[in-house]
């Protein structure tokens, strides 16, 4: 049976396709996303309060390496698909970074299946947000240097410096709230969080459902763009996630994670960022075609992962862990 939150997503896509005037107020969208990030962080932080932090070092290191490697691995493949160098780097960055909502849907599916999972997995999400972006930006800058060497620049401001970018990513909303929630959960512990659990923990899935309704509307709006870009976004959007999921699952298995943990890491590797990455890449690599990356990440990969990918990755984790 398909998870109820996914049905909300499909309702959003349907509303968009039939041209409904349904639109969630922007302020509500912002509120829901802040809530989800804080709640995911808090839940992970509670688990951190129960175990020694040093034990997590291998997981953190593996997440950084995994996130950083994805754009490097995808780059030659995307170039082979005839994407311009900066676009290949930018698309890679989107896939190297992660989608928090995909993670939330996978967590809900794993909980519903009754599989054991690491409750501090939110830490992986926070850690995996930036490395892929850094790798993508490095690839893009290298490509630009080569292009600049062969022809004069067509004009426009060069990409933003690393300092401003680091500030943008590390103190941007998603990493700040995830790490903030983790820290608050870890410091406060179960007893400290108990009084706010009725707001931040219990209604989580309902809020996720509402947020997915809005994301369905957004993703549905990108479907027309899929037609514009043609086969390449479909190949990237559907073909790449399962391959990345294999890499994520293998990493999880090597780390000795639980079945749910392997599935979550596979999902994170397979997911593509459509919030942090577009903003960061827009500023760092303005030459890249933003619509292409967003259409692949949000118009194709996100729906694919939510509806088909996550059950697939859970089955993969079960097969590996057996």
């Amino acid at each position: 049976m398909i998870d109820v939150v996914v049905l909300f997503f499909l309702l959003g896509v349907f509303a968009r396709l039939v041209g409904s005037d349904l639109r969630l107020p922007e302020a509500l969208y912002e509120t829901l996303s802040i809530y989800l990030l804080l709640a995911i962080g808090l839940k992970g932080g509670l688990e951190l309060s129960r175990q020694p932090l040093a034990a997590l070092a291998p997981e953190v290191a593996a997440c950084i390496v995994l996130g950083f490697s994805i754009p490097l691995a995808l780059y030659p493949l995307l170039r082979a698909l005839k994407l311009p160098a900066v676009d290949a780097a930018a698309v890679g960055a989107h896939y190297g970074s992660v989608s928090v909502v995909t993670f939330a849907v996978a967590s809900a599916a794993i909980a519903r299946a009754g599989l054991p999972a690491e409750s501090h997995a939110a830490l992986w999400v926070a850690v995996m947000e930036a490395p892929g972006l850094v790798a993508g930006i490095l690839l893009a800058r290298r490509a630009q240097r080569r292009a600049d060497a062969t022809k004069a620049d067509a004009g426009g401001a060069a990409g933003q410096g690393w300092g401003a970018l680091a500030h943008e990513v590390l103190f941007g909303k998603s990493v700040l709230l995830l790490l903030g929630g983790l820290a608050i959960g870890a410091v406060a512990g179960d007893a400290g969080v108990a009084p706010i659990a009725a707001v931040f923990l219990d209604p989580f899935k309902g809020v996720l459902a509402l947020f997915l309704l809005e994301l369905g509307l957004v993703a549905g709006g990108r479907l027309a763009e899929v037609r514009r870009f043609g086969a390449v976004v479909l190949i990237v959007g559907i073909g790449v996630p399962p391959v990345l999921a294999l890499a994520g699952a293998a990493t999880g298995w090597l780390l000795g994670l639980s079945v749910g943990g392997i599935a979550l890491l596979a999902t994170l590797a397979a997911s593509a960022s459509y919030i942090a990455a577009p903003t960061a890449m827009r500023i760092a690599v303005p030459q890249a075609n933003a619509a292409l990356s967003i259409t692949a990440a949000l118009g194709v990969t996100f729906p694919f992962n939510i509806v088909i990918g996550i059950p697939l990755y859970i089955a993969l984790a079960q097969a590996i862990a057996r």
Partner: protein, 101 residues
């Protein structure tokens, strides 16, 4: 009404991603006062509905001396127009306390 002074209003419609950089540029080039609003924008080639973070559009409205407004627009054209969605227009306005602009 007495004491009206001519100034130029420059309106910049742009991707929200470059909002802070546009403000820094305007401030650096001598603008003293501006307003920013979130808007939804569309053209024949693109629709920016502002439904989520990467799709937001802003309107930066500033009033300044004509030469300051021209210089800001020129710099925006050079730095941002090649790769970012940017539209600009000018209008003549009358203000009451010219030293504030």
């Amino acid at each position: 009404m007495r004491g009206k002074h001519r100034k130029t209003q420059l309106v910049i419609v742009a991707e929200a991603a470059i909002e802070s950089r546009l403000v820094a540029l305007a401030r650096r080039m001598g603008a003293q006062r501006w307003t920013i609003t979130d808007i939804r924008a569309a053209g024949l080639d693109e629709v920016r509905e502002g439904r989520w973070e990467a799709d937001r559009t802003i309107e930066l409205r500033l009033i300044a001396d004509p030469e300051v407004a021209d210089a800001i627009a020129e710099q925006v054209l050079t730095d941002y127009a090649p790769h970012f969605g940017v539209a600009m227009h000018f209008s003549e306005v009358s203000v009451l306390r010219p030293e504030r602009f």
